[in-house]
Symmetry: C2
Subunit: 400 residues, 2 copies
């Protein structure tokens, strides 16, 4: 492709702590490339293209961009909207009118699908445009990627939160249930395991959407942990499903978005349900449930350094791919080097390899009983999250 032209970039789906790193990485790379003319930032994803609602990203100072890069959430605004065929035609009218030749869409699998649809339309219309998807999802569920930008920071939040919560539970006892984001993939919930220092530290039980959730088994597990530890901390995914694949929380809420997804976050229903079950059936007096909610993707000041850097670099890689010959459409993916020391490379794969379908936790990351993760998962996740402020216990308490 490699033609001169204008650029348009937008953000889509759930925000993350580092999605602005990718935006700023792409914008700064584009600003220093002679092939790129105007740089439009579309507000609220494709909605901003349809409404021709843009800001000029050449006007932002380097200082502002660096501050924004370190600010959570999507600086251009986001959207959860899948374009219809009519939307695509309207989008092309705008892209052509503005002579957009470089289009970047930052988001998860739904966003990759949107980029795929737009790209297909571009091919049909014989309109020359480089169309690159920049990966982002705290769920870590994009195919082809070793891991996704946004995951490491959200995982860091979860590990820190569960560490503090486990220390809190040590102080006051009983059962504590923490409900963690992740619609279909358990990666984020699994990160709770990184909170452990001592052998008897929580989380003592971890439930993932990859394994059918049985209330009876859950009650038995909690009882066993109470006998062993005298207390119990549970990390559970908001997306746990029963044997028929029905989300446990779906029995308590009906709202769906335009991608047909049930609302799992922004409600305490699942935690309250599980707490009630434990109180009644495991006969525990002090049971508490917290739903970590949107803090997992938006808490400022605690991003994983590795995650922030990689998020920046996928933005840069997207622009590099777009301006090169023959690699004009695709999704940037992160591969882990097979070296002992952690490192990654960035590649470009066809959009359809990342779009629509998601991936789940591999079997080797989940224990046989389906209520914990394996050492293989911990080895996988630790470098993504970085060193954690786990603190220490009194030596006298450890000997008790």
């Amino acid at each position: 492709m490699s033609q001169k032209g204008n650029m348009l970039i937008a953000q889509s789906g759930g925000p993350s702590m580092v999605i602005n790193q990718s935006l700023v990485g792409a914008v700064l790379a584009a600003r220093s490339n002679r092939k790129v003319g105007k740089i439009y930032g579309a507000l609220h994803g494709i909605q901003g293209i349809l409404d021709e609602d843009f800001i000029d990203l050449r006007q932002e100072t380097r200082k502002t961009l660096e501050l924004v890069a370190n600010t959570p959430s999507s600086a251009l605004g986001s959207v959860r909207r899948k374009p219809t065929p009519e939307d695509c035609q309207a989008i092309f009218a705008v892209l052509k009118k503005l002579d957009i030749r470089y289009f970047f869409y930052i988001g998860g699998n739904d966003s990759a699908e949107t980029a795929y649809i737009i790209n297909e339309e571009a091919v049909k219309s014989e309109y020359g445009i480089s169309c690159v998807h920049i990966p982002k999802t705290i769920d870590n569920d994009l195919r082809e990627n070793d891991h996704t930008p946004g995951y490491g920071s959200a995982a860091r939040f979860v590990a820190c939160a569960v560490r503090g919560d486990d220390l809190d539970n040590r102080a006051l006892g009983g059962v504590k249930i923490d409900v963690i984001m992740g619609r279909n993939a358990g990666f984020l919930t699994a990160a709770a395991a990184l909170a452990r220092v001592d052998e008897d530290d929580g989380p003592h039980l971890i439930y993932l959407p990859e394994r059918p959730f049985s209330i009876d088994k859950f009650v038995r597990d909690v009882k066993a942990a109470m006998r062993k530890y005298g207390r119990c901390v549970v990390a559970v995914s908001e997306g746990i499903v029963d044997e028929n694949g029905t989300p446990i929380v779906a029995k308590f809420t009906q709202e769906t978005d335009s991608h047909g997804n049930v609302q799992l976050s922004g409600t305490g229903a699942l935690g309250d349900l599980l707490a009630k079950v434990v109180k009644e059936r495991a006969n525990v007096k002090r049971v508490r449930a917290d739903t970590f909610g949107y803090l997992q993707r938006s808490f400022p000041g605690i991003a994983s350094e590795t995650d922030a850097l990689e998020a920046r670099l996928v933005g840069v890689a997207a622009v590099q791919a777009a301006v090169e010959e023959d690699i004009s459409r695709g999704s940037i993916v992160i591969r882990r080097k097979p070296t002992k020391k952690y490192g990654v490379t960035f590649e470009v794969v066809p959009l359809r390899m990342v779009a629509r379908e998601t991936r789940s936790m591999p079997k080797e990351f989940i224990n046989r009983s389906g209520n914990n993760v394996t050492q293989a998962f911990i080895d996988y996740a630790r470098p993504l999250v970085g060193a954690l402020p786990l603190g220490a216990r009194l030596e006298g308490m450890r000997k008790k």
Copy 2:
């Protein structure tokens, strides 16, 4: 008093991010004082005294103590138990047997009351003991104190969380409700206001337990904010009450502790209730509610530096007071210097001045409509919380 003897220290009530600073401050001060013999750490507050369940705090290394000081939650374990007259007699038998002459109890108003009861028994029994309460509560509701150790760090968590959440809400829109801890005092909820940078930043509405909460007025307020900002972020205390003083959430939960307190935390009921009301009555499609829960008091690595330092110093001050003549019983309180530059002094007041009753937000900290805080509160709270990682928005977005 100032006699030679052994020391006993314990922690009580809800943990905080810096309660171990007070423990370590007291232990290190005591270890360097010749009047203090053995240093017993009682496990889980008075429960550990009754059960004679101790660890030897002279055995801990300085390095471990410093690590523990920077670790959230109560390192000795905690308890929510008000001693009965029989408990007090049993406690004295243990204190006498161990020749305890210095007793320190770290906690909130319930803990000050416990220290008061034990001290009264000591006076009656003519048993010479220095009995000092060390303040701690994230609620910031202890009388006589300008503010309390634990508050600044919890307030910092709340301000950061609401900042991230407000940026998230800017990206995806709708109404976001954040439920924040604080049984009777709105200080912690009010700290959400520190998240604001721009004039149109959230939280747009703040509801405190100090003012009766009306569902009708709440719906009107949300509608008005939606008209003005096109979105709305609400910070609401878990302890909001109706005109009769009944907690709104009490209609949905019954559990109480031994101090007769209704369970407000560890449930998403209030947030879900308010979200339902907004959906139905303010006709907003996207409404989310998060309950910050125990993370507010236990999240590691983000304590306010000022709060951590002051928590350390109240521990030191308690030991200094205990070993001095004539100041052998009381509660350490924090006074703010009347200087322009922020600073504090520590004093000792009689235990009954801090025990049992709590304080609320002063009137001048709450706006007339009862749905926001004043600049006076922000000026009060900012130095306690420290500089926040508030980040920045794109200049182009600010002009929109």
